[in-house]
Amino acid sequence: MAIELRAAGYRYLGATHPALESIDLRLEPGHVVGVVGANEAGKSTLCLVAAGLAPATIGGKLDGSVTIDSVETRTMRPHEVAQRCGILFQNPATQLSGTTRTVWEEIAFGPRNLGLPLAELAERVDWAIGIVRIERLAPRDPTMLSGGEAQLVALASVLALRPAYLVLDEPTSQLDPLGTRLVGQALRALARETGTGVLVVEHKADLLVRVAEQVVVLDRGRAVIAGPADAVFAGPGLEEHGVDRPSAVRVERALRAAGYEVAGTIAAAIAAAADADVAGGADGDGAQFVAAGAAAGGEDVSA
Protein backbone atom coordinates (compact mmCIF):
# COMPACT_ATOMS: atom_id res chain seq x y z
CA MET A 1 0.00 0.00 0.00
CA ALA A 2 1.47 3.32 -1.07
CA ILE A 3 1.60 5.96 -3.73
CA GLU A 4 4.87 5.31 -5.43
CA LEU A 5 6.73 7.27 -8.09
CA ARG A 6 9.69 5.54 -9.73
CA ALA A 7 11.83 7.55 -12.15
CA ALA A 8 8.66 9.49 -12.88
CA GLY A 9 8.76 12.28 -15.42
CA TYR A 10 5.96 14.34 -16.88
CA ARG A 11 5.52 16.70 -19.81
CA TYR A 12 2.39 18.79 -20.33
CA LEU A 13 0.56 18.56 -23.65
CA GLY A 14 2.35 20.76 -26.16
CA ALA A 15 5.22 21.60 -23.81
CA THR A 16 8.75 21.32 -25.14
CA HIS A 17 10.38 20.60 -21.78
CA PRO A 18 9.37 18.16 -19.09
CA ALA A 19 7.91 19.71 -15.92
CA LEU A 20 9.18 16.78 -13.86
CA GLU A 21 12.15 14.47 -14.40
CA SER A 22 13.14 11.17 -12.76
CA ILE A 23 11.29 11.63 -9.48
CA ASP A 24 11.41 8.84 -6.91
CA LEU A 25 8.96 9.24 -4.05
CA ARG A 26 6.99 6.96 -1.76
CA LEU A 27 3.94 8.00 0.26
CA GLU A 28 2.79 5.36 2.72
CA PRO A 29 -0.47 5.25 4.66
CA GLY A 30 -0.23 7.15 7.94
CA HIS A 31 2.69 9.28 6.79
CA VAL A 32 3.05 12.93 5.89
CA VAL A 33 5.53 13.87 3.18
CA GLY A 34 6.28 17.55 2.60
CA VAL A 35 7.29 19.05 -0.74
CA VAL A 36 9.16 22.33 -0.92
CA GLY A 37 10.79 24.26 -3.71
CA ALA A 38 11.03 27.62 -5.39
CA ASN A 39 8.13 28.94 -7.44
CA GLU A 40 7.66 26.90 -10.62
CA ALA A 41 9.98 24.11 -9.45
CA GLY A 42 7.28 21.57 -10.39
CA LYS A 43 5.47 21.26 -7.05
CA SER A 44 1.93 21.61 -8.42
CA THR A 45 2.79 19.26 -11.29
CA LEU A 46 4.03 16.73 -8.76
CA CYS A 47 0.65 17.01 -7.04
CA LEU A 48 -1.19 16.28 -10.30
CA VAL A 49 1.08 13.32 -11.08
CA ALA A 50 1.03 11.80 -7.58
CA ALA A 51 -2.76 12.15 -7.38
CA GLY A 52 -3.09 10.44 -10.77
CA LEU A 53 -4.79 13.40 -12.48
CA ALA A 54 -1.86 13.63 -14.86
CA PRO A 55 -2.22 12.02 -17.28
CA ALA A 56 -5.65 10.45 -16.51
CA THR A 57 -7.56 13.76 -16.64
CA ILE A 58 -5.31 16.30 -18.33
CA GLY A 59 -3.30 14.15 -20.74
CA GLY A 60 0.37 14.85 -21.29
CA LYS A 61 3.23 12.37 -21.30
CA LEU A 62 4.14 10.38 -18.20
CA ASP A 63 7.47 8.58 -18.04
CA GLY A 64 8.55 5.98 -15.53
CA SER A 65 6.06 4.53 -13.12
CA VAL A 66 3.41 6.06 -10.86
CA THR A 67 1.31 3.61 -8.88
CA ILE A 68 -1.44 4.00 -6.32
CA ASP A 69 -1.64 0.82 -4.24
CA SER A 70 0.35 -1.00 -6.94
CA VAL A 71 -1.92 0.06 -9.82
CA GLU A 72 -0.31 2.17 -12.54
CA THR A 73 -2.16 5.51 -12.67
CA ARG A 74 -1.84 5.59 -16.47
CA THR A 75 -4.15 2.57 -16.60
CA MET A 76 -6.71 4.06 -14.20
CA ARG A 77 -9.86 5.95 -15.12
CA PRO A 78 -10.34 9.39 -13.52
CA HIS A 79 -13.06 8.20 -11.09
CA GLU A 80 -10.90 5.26 -9.95
CA VAL A 81 -8.08 7.65 -9.17
CA ALA A 82 -10.44 10.05 -7.39
CA GLN A 83 -11.74 7.33 -5.09
CA ARG A 84 -8.27 6.57 -3.78
CA CYS A 85 -6.63 9.96 -3.72
CA GLY A 86 -8.12 13.35 -2.90
CA ILE A 87 -6.48 16.52 -4.17
CA LEU A 88 -6.70 20.09 -2.94
CA PHE A 89 -5.76 22.62 -5.60
CA GLN A 90 -3.72 25.70 -4.91
CA ASN A 91 -6.58 28.06 -5.70
CA PRO A 92 -9.62 26.98 -3.64
CA ALA A 93 -11.95 28.90 -5.93
CA THR A 94 -11.28 26.33 -8.67
CA GLN A 95 -12.44 23.59 -6.35
CA LEU A 96 -15.92 24.74 -5.40
CA SER A 97 -18.74 23.17 -7.37
CA GLY A 98 -20.64 26.43 -7.81
CA THR A 99 -23.91 24.52 -7.67
CA THR A 100 -24.71 24.57 -3.97
CA ARG A 101 -26.38 27.14 -1.76
CA THR A 102 -24.67 26.45 1.55
CA VAL A 103 -21.20 25.44 2.65
CA TRP A 104 -22.67 22.28 4.20
CA GLU A 105 -24.18 21.24 0.85
CA GLU A 106 -20.92 22.12 -0.88
CA ILE A 107 -18.98 19.74 1.35
CA ALA A 108 -21.68 17.09 0.81
CA PHE A 109 -21.36 17.44 -2.98
CA GLY A 110 -18.47 14.97 -3.35
CA PRO A 111 -19.64 12.24 -0.97
CA ARG A 112 -23.19 12.54 -2.35
CA ASN A 113 -21.78 11.45 -5.70
CA LEU A 114 -20.41 8.32 -4.00
CA GLY A 115 -24.02 7.26 -3.42
CA LEU A 116 -23.77 7.09 0.37
CA PRO A 117 -26.85 6.63 2.58
CA LEU A 118 -28.04 10.00 3.88
CA ALA A 119 -27.10 9.33 7.51
CA GLU A 120 -23.55 8.43 6.59
CA LEU A 121 -23.33 11.38 4.24
CA ALA A 122 -24.34 13.73 7.06
CA GLU A 123 -21.85 12.12 9.44
CA ARG A 124 -19.03 12.56 7.00
CA VAL A 125 -19.85 16.17 6.28
CA ASP A 126 -20.10 17.04 9.98
CA TRP A 127 -16.86 15.17 10.63
CA ALA A 128 -15.01 17.07 7.90
CA ILE A 129 -16.45 20.38 9.12
CA GLY A 130 -15.29 19.50 12.65
CA ILE A 131 -11.74 18.74 11.57
CA VAL A 132 -11.17 22.16 10.03
CA ARG A 133 -13.48 23.83 12.59
CA ILE A 134 -15.74 25.66 10.20
CA GLU A 135 -19.04 24.93 11.99
CA ARG A 136 -19.89 28.63 11.82
CA LEU A 137 -19.50 28.62 8.01
CA ALA A 138 -21.88 25.69 7.42
CA PRO A 139 -24.99 27.81 6.59
CA ARG A 140 -23.07 30.41 4.54
CA ASP A 141 -23.16 30.90 0.77
CA PRO A 142 -20.02 29.19 -0.60
CA THR A 143 -19.54 31.86 -3.26
CA MET A 144 -19.35 34.64 -0.66
CA LEU A 145 -16.39 33.38 1.38
CA SER A 146 -13.06 35.06 2.01
CA GLY A 147 -9.94 33.43 0.57
CA GLY A 148 -9.05 31.78 3.85
CA GLU A 149 -12.60 30.55 4.44
CA ALA A 150 -12.85 29.14 0.91
CA GLN A 151 -9.57 27.31 1.46
CA LEU A 152 -10.90 25.61 4.61
CA VAL A 153 -14.17 24.70 2.87
CA ALA A 154 -12.26 23.21 -0.06
CA LEU A 155 -10.13 21.18 2.35
CA ALA A 156 -13.21 19.92 4.19
CA SER A 157 -14.77 18.95 0.85
CA VAL A 158 -11.78 16.74 0.06
CA LEU A 159 -11.66 15.26 3.56
CA ALA A 160 -15.36 14.33 3.35
CA LEU A 161 -14.50 11.93 0.52
CA ARG A 162 -12.35 10.02 3.06
CA PRO A 163 -9.68 9.14 0.49
CA ALA A 164 -6.83 6.82 1.48
CA TYR A 165 -4.36 9.45 0.25
CA LEU A 166 -4.49 13.22 0.27
CA VAL A 167 -2.48 15.52 -1.98
CA LEU A 168 -2.57 19.14 -0.84
CA ASP A 169 -1.15 22.03 -2.85
CA GLU A 170 -0.38 24.83 -0.37
CA PRO A 171 -3.41 24.19 1.85
CA THR A 172 -2.66 27.07 4.24
CA SER A 173 -1.55 29.79 1.80
CA GLN A 174 -4.49 32.05 2.64
CA LEU A 175 -4.90 31.17 6.30
CA ASP A 176 -4.03 33.19 9.38
CA PRO A 177 -1.49 31.77 11.85
CA LEU A 178 -4.13 30.01 13.96
CA GLY A 179 -5.82 28.47 10.92
CA THR A 180 -2.42 27.33 9.66
CA ARG A 181 -1.63 25.75 13.01
CA LEU A 182 -5.00 24.00 13.19
CA VAL A 183 -4.73 22.59 9.68
CA GLY A 184 -1.24 21.32 10.53
CA GLN A 185 -2.53 19.57 13.64
CA ALA A 186 -5.48 18.14 11.74
CA LEU A 187 -3.21 16.68 9.04
CA ARG A 188 -0.89 15.12 11.61
CA ALA A 189 -3.84 13.66 13.46
CA LEU A 190 -5.51 12.47 10.26
CA ALA A 191 -2.38 10.54 9.29
CA ARG A 192 -1.93 9.10 12.76
CA GLU A 193 -5.56 8.27 13.55
CA THR A 194 -6.99 7.23 10.20
CA GLY A 195 -3.86 6.09 8.39
CA THR A 196 -4.32 8.61 5.61
CA GLY A 197 -1.15 9.19 3.56
CA VAL A 198 -0.64 12.95 3.08
CA LEU A 199 1.52 14.66 0.47
CA VAL A 200 1.63 18.38 1.19
CA VAL A 201 3.25 21.21 -0.75
CA GLU A 202 4.06 24.18 1.49
CA HIS A 203 6.28 27.24 1.60
CA LYS A 204 5.81 27.48 5.37
CA ALA A 205 8.83 25.64 6.74
CA ASP A 206 7.65 26.24 10.32
CA LEU A 207 4.52 24.24 9.53
CA LEU A 208 6.22 21.43 7.62
CA VAL A 209 8.83 20.80 10.29
CA ARG A 210 5.99 20.07 12.72
CA VAL A 211 3.82 18.08 10.35
CA ALA A 212 5.97 16.12 7.89
CA GLU A 213 8.26 13.18 8.60
CA GLN A 214 9.92 13.36 5.21
CA VAL A 215 10.63 16.35 3.01
CA VAL A 216 11.45 16.48 -0.69
CA VAL A 217 13.07 19.57 -2.24
CA LEU A 218 12.23 20.18 -5.88
CA ASP A 219 14.21 22.38 -8.23
CA ARG A 220 13.53 22.70 -11.95
CA GLY A 221 11.51 19.52 -12.03
CA ARG A 222 13.94 17.33 -10.14
CA ALA A 223 14.04 16.08 -6.57
CA VAL A 224 17.37 17.55 -5.47
CA ILE A 225 17.23 16.79 -1.73
CA ALA A 226 15.09 14.28 0.17
CA GLY A 227 15.12 12.91 3.68
CA PRO A 228 13.80 13.29 7.21
CA ALA A 229 12.31 16.78 7.69
CA ASP A 230 14.69 17.83 10.49
CA ALA A 231 17.75 16.75 8.53
CA VAL A 232 16.66 18.41 5.28
CA PHE A 233 15.78 21.71 6.98
CA ALA A 234 19.06 21.79 8.91
CA GLY A 235 21.15 20.48 6.02
CA PRO A 236 23.05 22.28 3.28
CA GLY A 237 21.82 23.65 -0.02
CA LEU A 238 18.33 24.97 0.69
CA GLU A 239 19.22 28.59 -0.09
CA GLU A 240 20.48 27.76 -3.57
CA HIS A 241 17.18 26.02 -4.27
CA GLY A 242 15.19 29.02 -3.03
CA VAL A 243 13.78 27.19 -0.01
CA ASP A 244 13.20 28.78 3.38
CA ARG A 245 14.22 27.17 6.66
CA PRO A 246 12.16 26.96 9.85
CA SER A 247 12.54 29.99 12.15
CA ALA A 248 14.45 28.03 14.81
CA VAL A 249 16.98 26.76 12.28
CA ARG A 250 17.36 30.26 10.81
CA VAL A 251 18.03 31.79 14.21
CA GLU A 252 20.53 29.06 15.10
CA ARG A 253 22.40 29.52 11.85
CA ALA A 254 22.38 33.31 12.18
CA LEU A 255 23.85 33.05 15.68
CA ARG A 256 26.50 30.56 14.59
CA ALA A 257 27.42 32.74 11.62
CA ALA A 258 27.89 35.65 14.03
CA GLY A 259 30.29 33.54 16.11
CA TYR A 260 28.01 32.46 18.95
CA GLU A 261 28.06 28.95 20.28
CA VAL A 262 24.48 27.66 20.19
CA ALA A 263 24.48 25.65 23.41
CA GLY A 264 23.27 25.94 26.99
CA THR A 265 20.78 28.70 27.70
CA ILE A 266 20.73 29.97 24.10
CA ALA A 267 19.99 26.53 22.66
CA ALA A 268 17.36 25.98 25.34
CA ALA A 269 15.73 29.34 24.59
CA ILE A 270 15.50 28.50 20.87
CA ALA A 271 14.09 25.04 21.57
CA ALA A 272 11.50 26.47 23.96
CA ALA A 273 10.53 29.16 21.45
CA ALA A 274 10.12 26.60 18.68
CA ASP A 275 7.83 24.50 20.89
CA ALA A 276 5.78 27.45 22.12
CA ASP A 277 2.18 27.29 21.06
CA VAL A 278 -0.24 29.86 19.81
CA ALA A 279 -2.74 30.68 22.54
CA GLY A 280 -5.96 28.72 22.23
CA GLY A 281 -4.56 26.29 19.68
CA ALA A 282 -3.40 23.60 22.09
CA ASP A 283 -1.86 20.58 20.40
CA GLY A 284 -4.09 17.56 20.43
CA ASP A 285 -7.42 19.21 19.71
CA GLY A 286 -7.17 18.24 16.07
CA ALA A 287 -6.45 14.66 17.10
CA GLN A 288 -9.60 14.55 19.19
CA PHE A 289 -11.71 15.75 16.30
CA VAL A 290 -10.28 13.17 13.95
CA ALA A 291 -10.57 10.36 16.47
CA ALA A 292 -14.23 11.18 17.04
CA GLY A 293 -14.84 11.26 13.31
CA ALA A 294 -13.05 7.99 12.71
CA ALA A 295 -15.15 6.32 15.40
CA ALA A 296 -18.40 7.69 13.99
CA GLY A 297 -17.36 7.34 10.40
CA GLY A 298 -16.65 4.29 8.59
CA GLU A 299 -15.43 1.23 7.07
CA ASP A 300 -13.34 3.10 4.55
CA VAL A 301 -10.60 4.06 6.97
CA SER A 302 -7.57 2.86 5.14
CA ALA A 303 -5.23 1.94 8.00
Binding site: G37, A38, N39, E40, S44, Q90, N91, A93, S146, G147, G148, E149, E170, S173, Q174, L175, D176, P177, L178, G179, T180, H203, E239, G242, V243, D244, S247, A248, R250, V251, A254, L255, A258, Y260, T265, I266, A268, A269, I270, A272, A273, A274, A276, V278, A279, G280, G281
Partner: protein, 269 residues
Amino acid sequence: MSIPVSLESVVFVYPDGTRALDGVSLEVPPGDRVAIVGQNGSGKSTLVRQLNGLLRPTAGRVHVGGRDARELHVAKLAAVVGLAFQNPDRQIFAGRVRSEVAFGPRNLGMRGSALARAVDAALQAVGLETDADTNPYDLGYSRRKLLALASVLAMGTPVVVLDEPTTGQDARGVERVRGIVGELSAAGRTVITISHDMRFVAETFARVVVMRAGRIILDGTPSETFAEQSWPVLASTFLEPTLPARVGATLALGSTPTEASLLDALGRR
Protein backbone atom coordinates in the same frame (compact mmCIF):
# COMPACT_ATOMS: atom_id res chain seq x y z
CA MET B 1 4.47 62.80 -3.98
CA SER B 2 3.45 61.99 -0.42
CA ILE B 3 0.07 62.39 1.22
CA PRO B 4 -1.45 61.48 4.58
CA VAL B 5 -4.44 59.18 4.93
CA SER B 6 -6.60 58.72 7.99
CA LEU B 7 -9.70 57.04 9.31
CA GLU B 8 -11.80 58.69 11.98
CA SER B 9 -14.16 56.44 14.01
CA VAL B 10 -14.99 54.44 10.93
CA VAL B 11 -17.80 51.92 11.18
CA PHE B 12 -18.58 49.61 8.29
CA VAL B 13 -21.53 47.22 8.19
CA TYR B 14 -21.95 44.81 5.26
CA PRO B 15 -25.44 44.39 3.76
CA ASP B 16 -25.82 41.05 5.58
CA GLY B 17 -25.37 42.88 8.90
CA THR B 18 -21.75 41.92 9.57
CA ARG B 19 -20.11 44.78 11.46
CA ALA B 20 -16.65 44.50 9.91
CA LEU B 21 -15.30 47.79 11.28
CA ASP B 22 -16.42 48.86 14.70
CA GLY B 23 -15.01 52.35 15.20
CA VAL B 24 -11.54 52.42 13.68
CA SER B 25 -9.33 55.47 13.93
CA LEU B 26 -5.96 55.39 12.23
CA GLU B 27 -3.59 58.10 11.06
CA VAL B 28 -1.00 57.21 8.49
CA PRO B 29 1.45 60.04 7.84
CA PRO B 30 3.02 60.41 4.37
CA GLY B 31 5.71 57.81 3.66
CA ASP B 32 4.73 55.55 6.58
CA ARG B 33 5.33 51.81 6.25
CA VAL B 34 2.45 50.06 8.03
CA ALA B 35 1.53 46.40 8.37
CA ILE B 36 -1.99 45.45 9.40
CA VAL B 37 -2.27 42.06 11.09
CA GLY B 38 -5.09 40.07 12.66
CA GLN B 39 -7.13 36.93 12.16
CA ASN B 40 -9.08 36.18 9.01
CA GLY B 41 -12.30 38.17 9.39
CA SER B 42 -10.89 40.80 11.77
CA GLY B 43 -11.62 43.62 9.31
CA LYS B 44 -8.23 44.15 7.66
CA SER B 45 -9.38 43.95 4.04
CA THR B 46 -12.50 45.98 4.81
CA LEU B 47 -10.32 48.67 6.35
CA VAL B 48 -8.02 49.10 3.36
CA ARG B 49 -10.96 49.14 0.95
CA GLN B 50 -12.18 52.31 2.68
CA LEU B 51 -9.03 54.05 1.50
CA ASN B 52 -9.64 53.75 -2.23
CA GLY B 53 -13.40 54.10 -2.14
CA LEU B 54 -14.18 50.47 -3.02
CA LEU B 55 -16.17 50.56 0.20
CA ARG B 56 -17.59 53.67 1.85
CA PRO B 57 -17.92 53.93 5.62
CA THR B 58 -21.33 53.35 7.20
CA ALA B 59 -20.30 55.95 9.78
CA GLY B 60 -17.19 57.99 10.46
CA ARG B 61 -14.82 59.66 8.03
CA VAL B 62 -11.96 58.75 5.73
CA HIS B 63 -9.47 61.44 4.77
CA VAL B 64 -7.12 61.07 1.84
CA GLY B 65 -4.57 63.80 1.28
CA GLY B 66 -6.41 66.04 3.72
CA ARG B 67 -9.72 65.74 1.89
CA ASP B 68 -12.83 63.90 2.97
CA ALA B 69 -12.93 60.77 0.77
CA ARG B 70 -16.70 61.23 0.35
CA GLU B 71 -15.97 64.23 -1.85
CA LEU B 72 -13.66 62.18 -4.05
CA HIS B 73 -14.92 59.94 -6.83
CA VAL B 74 -13.52 56.39 -6.96
CA ALA B 75 -11.59 57.28 -10.12
CA LYS B 76 -9.95 60.16 -8.30
CA LEU B 77 -9.10 57.98 -5.31
CA ALA B 78 -7.65 55.31 -7.62
CA ALA B 79 -5.07 57.87 -8.78
CA VAL B 80 -3.94 58.30 -5.21
CA VAL B 81 -4.39 54.92 -3.55
CA GLY B 82 -3.30 51.79 -5.46
CA LEU B 83 -4.57 48.46 -4.16
CA ALA B 84 -3.20 45.01 -5.02
CA PHE B 85 -5.81 42.40 -4.22
CA GLN B 86 -5.16 39.26 -2.23
CA ASN B 87 -6.41 37.10 -5.09
CA PRO B 88 -4.61 38.28 -8.26
CA ASP B 89 -7.28 36.67 -10.45
CA ARG B 90 -9.80 39.26 -9.24
CA GLN B 91 -7.69 41.89 -10.89
CA ILE B 92 -6.03 40.32 -13.94
CA PHE B 93 -7.94 40.48 -17.22
CA ALA B 94 -5.57 41.42 -20.07
CA GLY B 95 -4.15 38.99 -22.63
CA ARG B 96 -0.55 40.04 -22.17
CA VAL B 97 1.51 40.85 -19.11
CA ARG B 98 2.55 44.22 -20.56
CA SER B 99 -1.00 45.35 -21.33
CA GLU B 100 -2.13 44.24 -17.89
CA VAL B 101 0.47 46.44 -16.24
CA ALA B 102 -0.18 49.35 -18.65
CA PHE B 103 -3.92 49.42 -17.95
CA GLY B 104 -3.77 51.30 -14.65
CA PRO B 105 -1.30 54.03 -15.59
CA ARG B 106 -3.02 54.55 -18.96
CA ASN B 107 -6.28 55.15 -17.13
CA LEU B 108 -4.47 57.76 -15.10
CA GLY B 109 -3.55 59.52 -18.35
CA MET B 110 -0.03 58.26 -18.84
CA ARG B 111 0.97 57.85 -22.51
CA GLY B 112 3.89 57.16 -24.79
CA SER B 113 7.38 56.83 -23.43
CA ALA B 114 6.35 57.79 -19.88
CA LEU B 115 3.88 54.90 -19.91
CA ALA B 116 6.46 52.49 -21.34
CA ARG B 117 8.98 53.54 -18.69
CA ALA B 118 6.48 53.05 -15.87
CA VAL B 119 5.55 49.60 -17.17
CA ASP B 120 9.16 48.52 -17.67
CA ALA B 121 10.17 49.72 -14.21
CA ALA B 122 7.26 47.89 -12.58
CA LEU B 123 7.97 44.65 -14.46
CA GLN B 124 11.61 44.89 -13.54
CA ALA B 125 10.78 45.49 -9.87
CA VAL B 126 8.83 42.24 -9.66
CA GLY B 127 11.17 40.29 -11.96
CA LEU B 128 8.75 39.78 -14.85
CA GLU B 129 10.68 41.79 -17.46
CA THR B 130 11.24 38.74 -19.66
CA ASP B 131 7.56 37.81 -19.52
CA ALA B 132 6.15 41.05 -20.97
CA ASP B 133 4.49 39.21 -23.87
CA THR B 134 3.30 36.21 -21.89
CA ASN B 135 -0.40 35.59 -21.29
CA PRO B 136 -0.95 36.24 -17.56
CA TYR B 137 -2.72 32.92 -17.20
CA ASP B 138 0.38 31.07 -18.44
CA LEU B 139 2.14 32.35 -15.33
CA GLY B 140 1.97 30.30 -12.15
CA TYR B 141 0.00 31.64 -9.19
CA SER B 142 3.01 33.18 -7.49
CA ARG B 143 3.99 35.13 -10.60
CA ARG B 144 0.40 36.22 -11.26
CA LYS B 145 0.55 37.63 -7.75
CA LEU B 146 3.72 39.55 -8.65
CA LEU B 147 2.02 40.73 -11.84
CA ALA B 148 -0.86 42.15 -9.79
CA LEU B 149 1.73 43.94 -7.65
CA ALA B 150 3.47 45.34 -10.76
CA SER B 151 0.14 46.69 -12.04
CA VAL B 152 -0.23 48.73 -8.88
CA LEU B 153 3.41 49.86 -8.81
CA ALA B 154 3.15 51.13 -12.38
CA MET B 155 0.40 53.56 -11.40
CA GLY B 156 2.85 55.47 -9.24
CA THR B 157 0.22 56.24 -6.62
CA PRO B 158 1.47 58.03 -3.50
CA VAL B 159 -0.25 55.37 -1.38
CA VAL B 160 0.24 51.67 -2.13
CA VAL B 161 -1.93 49.07 -0.40
CA LEU B 162 -0.93 45.41 -0.62
CA ASP B 163 -3.31 42.68 0.54
CA GLU B 164 -1.25 39.61 1.52
CA PRO B 165 1.59 40.22 -0.96
CA THR B 166 3.70 37.22 0.16
CA THR B 167 0.99 34.55 -0.22
CA GLY B 168 2.35 31.69 -2.30
CA GLN B 169 5.78 33.32 -2.69
CA ASP B 170 8.93 31.32 -2.13
CA ALA B 171 11.88 32.63 -0.11
CA ARG B 172 13.17 34.72 -3.05
CA GLY B 173 9.69 36.07 -3.76
CA VAL B 174 9.28 37.25 -0.17
CA GLU B 175 12.71 38.86 -0.36
CA ARG B 176 11.67 40.63 -3.57
CA VAL B 177 8.48 41.97 -2.01
CA ARG B 178 10.48 43.17 1.00
CA GLY B 179 12.81 45.04 -1.37
CA ILE B 180 9.89 46.64 -3.20
CA VAL B 181 8.33 47.87 0.05
CA GLY B 182 11.70 49.34 1.03
CA GLU B 183 12.10 51.14 -2.29
CA LEU B 184 8.56 52.54 -2.22
CA SER B 185 9.14 53.81 1.26
CA ALA B 186 12.51 55.32 0.36
CA ALA B 187 10.75 57.18 -2.47
CA GLY B 188 8.40 58.73 0.10
CA ARG B 189 5.39 56.65 -0.88
CA THR B 190 3.14 55.27 1.84
CA VAL B 191 2.90 51.48 2.01
CA ILE B 192 0.05 49.78 3.86
CA THR B 193 0.19 45.99 3.83
CA ILE B 194 -2.05 43.26 5.18
CA SER B 195 -0.12 40.15 6.17
CA HIS B 196 -0.32 36.96 8.19
CA ASP B 197 3.44 36.46 7.99
CA MET B 198 4.85 37.85 11.24
CA ARG B 199 8.49 37.47 10.21
CA PHE B 200 7.88 39.43 7.01
CA VAL B 201 6.00 42.05 9.02
CA ALA B 202 8.68 42.42 11.72
CA GLU B 203 11.51 42.63 9.19
CA THR B 204 9.84 44.92 6.67
CA PHE B 205 7.59 47.45 8.39
CA ALA B 206 8.15 50.38 10.69
CA ARG B 207 4.71 50.09 12.26
CA VAL B 208 2.38 47.20 13.07
CA VAL B 209 -1.37 47.67 13.58
CA VAL B 210 -3.14 44.70 15.20
CA MET B 211 -6.87 44.25 14.57
CA ARG B 212 -9.47 42.14 16.34
CA ALA B 213 -13.19 42.02 15.60
CA GLY B 214 -13.25 45.30 13.68
CA ARG B 215 -11.14 47.29 16.14
CA ILE B 216 -7.50 48.25 16.47
CA ILE B 217 -6.12 46.67 19.65
CA LEU B 218 -2.43 47.44 19.25
CA ASP B 219 -0.45 49.97 17.21
CA GLY B 220 3.30 50.38 17.48
CA THR B 221 6.74 49.60 16.11
CA PRO B 222 7.61 45.91 15.61
CA SER B 223 9.72 46.20 18.74
CA GLU B 224 6.69 47.39 20.73
CA THR B 225 4.18 45.04 19.11
CA PHE B 226 6.26 41.90 19.62
CA ALA B 227 7.57 42.87 23.09
CA GLU B 228 6.72 40.37 25.82
CA GLN B 229 4.17 42.66 27.48
CA SER B 230 2.18 42.70 24.20
CA TRP B 231 1.98 38.93 23.87
CA PRO B 232 -1.31 38.59 25.77
CA VAL B 233 -2.88 41.12 23.39
CA LEU B 234 -1.48 39.24 20.38
CA ALA B 235 -2.72 35.95 21.86
CA SER B 236 -6.19 37.42 22.29
CA THR B 237 -6.44 37.43 18.51
CA PHE B 238 -4.43 34.22 18.05
CA LEU B 239 -1.26 35.85 16.81
CA GLU B 240 2.19 34.73 17.90
CA PRO B 241 5.34 36.74 18.42
CA THR B 242 8.18 35.85 16.06
CA LEU B 243 10.65 33.22 17.17
CA PRO B 244 13.50 35.73 17.70
CA ALA B 245 11.11 37.72 19.95
CA ARG B 246 10.54 34.65 22.13
CA VAL B 247 14.24 33.84 22.26
CA GLY B 248 15.10 37.42 23.24
CA ALA B 249 12.49 37.40 26.00
CA THR B 250 13.76 34.10 27.41
CA LEU B 251 17.32 35.42 27.45
CA ALA B 252 16.16 38.71 29.04
CA LEU B 253 17.48 40.74 26.09
CA GLY B 254 14.43 42.97 25.76
CA SER B 255 12.31 43.07 22.61
CA THR B 256 14.00 41.38 19.64
CA PRO B 257 11.36 40.93 16.94
CA THR B 258 13.86 40.06 14.19
CA GLU B 259 16.99 37.95 13.81
CA ALA B 260 18.99 41.13 13.30
CA SER B 261 17.70 42.73 16.48
CA LEU B 262 18.37 39.51 18.41
CA LEU B 263 21.98 39.53 17.20
CA ASP B 264 22.33 43.21 18.12
CA ALA B 265 20.97 42.61 21.60
CA LEU B 266 23.27 39.65 22.15
CA GLY B 267 26.20 41.72 20.97
CA ARG B 268 25.42 44.47 23.46
CA ARG B 269 25.10 42.03 26.36
